[in-house]
Symmetry: C2
């Protein structure tokens, strides 16, 4: 046994998809060779198998589920992205799904079953033994994207008056009843409320006669099953938690959250922010063209509306443009610079809001900074663009007009970039979603209006 | 002792900045009341103290470091964002910094010392005892953003022939020499190469006579000190790792990485991607106007260049615009829709590249999907915009021109959105940085050229 046993020796960097295996898998699926697929994937980590499956298109994924269902173990299913999981689950036998689910801890089992459509979910649940079914149904009773869905019902708890020795003896006796993996022992009071947590490694280091109460970390955060997963991920990040107890409404310990699930939540939330800022509702790599169109067209429609609005502003000044066509040539520059400066300010603001660094205590300072940053950048590019326009069209009055419009638009861009997301947040909306459209509407309208309006007043 | 002791009872949601405390802190700093500051912050979690300090402006932060250095413990400094840490560290006594550093594990200590300027770092290192100094200097010898900087030199290892009982007895005897917190015991062979890892909780559950080799997880990933932190974070995420061993060039176990550091790396990398896509080089909440201008102006300058290029395309058709001013009114719509569709496609591509889902095995399918998605969206909005333009200007030839230009530009946008980041990646550049500018250059130039060129041919 050597640590290099699983490390690919060829071109594939470790941890990345082995393209030659991906191609081989696709060929074996086309050939319908279920046994060959089993041999190809044997010994691979479930995460690597999941990666290979995600390289297939959805028809191939469906066929794989039909001809080689045995490679789709619980662990592999849990490692798939949700859109792929949905595709293969629809092809699997409910009994196979029920067996896969029972391999998993309750949090992963919930993840797997929550995405099935209602009819299939009922069929699968019917195959799960009574006691596990009740636990699954209770997890499913919490809203999606909450702590209740992510929590594991298995945890280790000990009363605060126990000693280290007592706790260790108890755990060794409990053996198989303990969770597969845990990082903290939760210390509970007589009301079964978690009052502290002792990392397992600290238990190991401490003398047997030490009381748990003397070595525990205080529990600072109260997580209930309906706490939003984004809040939970934030607590984990801020307090460097590895695990955290979940309490029910009466404060009794009822579950455990672990950091590996939070890493996924953090990635998911970051992905949503990035896509939302770009105007994409949802995206998976195996999306079809139809799904992609569906998730992007709505925001393009909104953008069309605001673009027509901006055009309306231009139309107000059509006489000026006819007299001086240089206005038509230069006007997109003012709008484009404003759009860029607004997007910069917006990205900084969305990030500060999602990391909760932007609060009412510093909002005023940040707003002023963004406006001044926009203004200063406006001044810089007013000079640059003024010189360019003056030399290009040999018209220094026109140069002055574009310079002034640039300052106005970039100052407004900075302000809009911070005020729009803060406003959306105040009204309870997600600042990442739809902010972009509002900000570019402001910068287009202000840009065209300032430039063409000034030109109409000064030049004609 | 109750679990609610630290949970704020007023308006502040738990874990978020207590604005009234932030205001009080600012007032105490203005008053120069160091003792009052100590009382205000007493009993708070270091992460909460760090949050409060981050709400101050940099003059206040500097004054805090001068009048109340004792609140800036190692843990508080480690929780600060790097830009704030830089501000306060410059005001602290080297002896104070050296003491703070020695409170911390080697990974956090490295984090703290690596950002000091050279002169201060030498002064601080001189105050650190010989043995710790050597370890710190060795960590600093690795490049920034590598595993070597993040790794902890303290870890727990056991030979593969040991039993569970032997290992536990050894750990309990070692006591204080063990790391403050650890999650796995690394199993090493006779060459001190890590061949497996046993989670501490599994050690607890197993019988004393079981051999470590029989319950260990294989080590699948080889992390060396110069492995990029982004790769390391990806391994942690993919394989759901809680900790991982680091090996030196000869394969010997030399350090340990833990998931809490990886959560920070993941957030940092996501922040960089989001800001880079928006054209911001770097951003901190306490940045001054000057710093903000400096980090945003370069990309605005690049954008100005591409905007002038696009204007050059418009200038080619100035005669057409003078004849039919509706062209000037409508042309920004074509460019804006293309820019939006390109940004959508780009965000999806950047995300897929950073999560390593986009590989040579599926690239062709994804490229085709993006082009078709652009084309179909182009067809949808060609119809919508054709009708709008036809009704607005009562010119159905103009409507046909804008419709055709829309399809061309959105198809190109889809293609550019995926090909630009893939191309940058192939040339070893970061696909998030500078992609936006290239993509919008394509959509502006193609949009103006297609619309005005077709119009000049058909309408005039």
């Amino acid at each position: 046994m050597s640590e290099t046993a699983d490390i690919p020796t060829e071109d594939t960097p470790q941890g990345e998809v082995d393209v030659s295996k991906a191609v081989a898998l696709a060929i074996l699926i086309e050939e319908g060779d279920g046994a060959g697929i089993g041999r190809l994937l044997e010994g691979l980590h479930p995460a690597d198998i999941a990666d290979l499956i995600e390289q297939l298109n959805s028809e191939q994924q469906e066929k794989l589920a039909r001809i080689a269902p045995d490679v789709l173990t619980g662990d592999v299913l849990a490692n798939l992205q949700w859109d792929t999981r949905e595709v293969v689950a629809a092809e699997l036998d409910p009994a196979h799904l029920a067996a896969a689910i029972q391999e998993l801890d309750s949090d992963d089992a919930t993840l797997l079953i929550e995405e099935l459509d209602d009819a299939l979910r009922q069929q699968v649940l019917a195959e799960v033994p009574e006691e596990n079914r009740a636990a699954l149904e209770s997890s499913l009773s919490f809203d999606e994207e909450t702590a209740g869905r992510l929590m594991q019902r298995e945890f280790v708890a000990a009363p605060d008056f126990w000693t280290v020795g007592h706790t260790i003896d108890h755990m060794r006796a409990a053996g198989d009843e303990l969770p597969e993996l845990f990082f903290d022992v939760y210390v509970v009071n007589t009301g079964f409320e978690p009052v502290g947590a002792v990392p397992v490694s600290r238990l190991m280091r401490s003398r047997r006669d030490v009381k748990l109460a003397d070595i525990m970390e205080e529990v600072r955060i109260r997580i209930e099953p309906d706490t939003d997963q984004e809040d939970v991920a934030y607590y984990f990040e801020k307090y460097h938690l590895i695990s955290a107890p979940v309490v029910d409404a009466s404060g009794r310990l009822s579950g455990m959250l672990t950091v590996d699930d939070m890493v996924e939540v953090i990635q998911e939330e970051n992905k949503e922010d990035l896509l939302a800022l770009a105007g994409v509702n949802e995206a998976g790599l195996t999306d079809t063209v139809f799904e992609s169109v569906k998730s992007r067209a709505p925001w393009l429609l909104v953008n069309l509306g605001t673009a027509v609005l901006a055009s309306g502003v231009i139309a107000l000044f059509d006489a000026a443009i006819t007299q001086l066509v240089a206005l038509a040539v230069l006007m997109p520059i003012v709008a484009s610079m404003g759009g860029n400066a607004g997007t910069q300010s917006l990205a900084v603001a969305v990030r500060a809001i999602s990391s909760r660094d932007l609060t009412s205590a510093n909002a005023r300072r940040v707003i002023i900074r963004e406006m001044l940053t926009g203004t200063f950048n406006g001044l810089i590019f007013a000079v640059v663009m003024g010189v360019v326009a003056g030399l290009w069209f040999q018209n220094w009055a026109l140069a002055a007009v574009i310079a002034i419009a640039m300052v106005i638009n970039l100052a407004c861009a900075g302000l809009a970039g911070i005020l729009v997301p803060m406003g959306l947040k105040r009204f309870g909306a997600d600042p990442a979603v739809s902010s972009s459209v509002f900000v570019t509407t402001v910068t287009d309208v202000v840009g065209f209006f300032a430039f063409l309006g000034l030109a109409a007043m000064v030049l004609l």
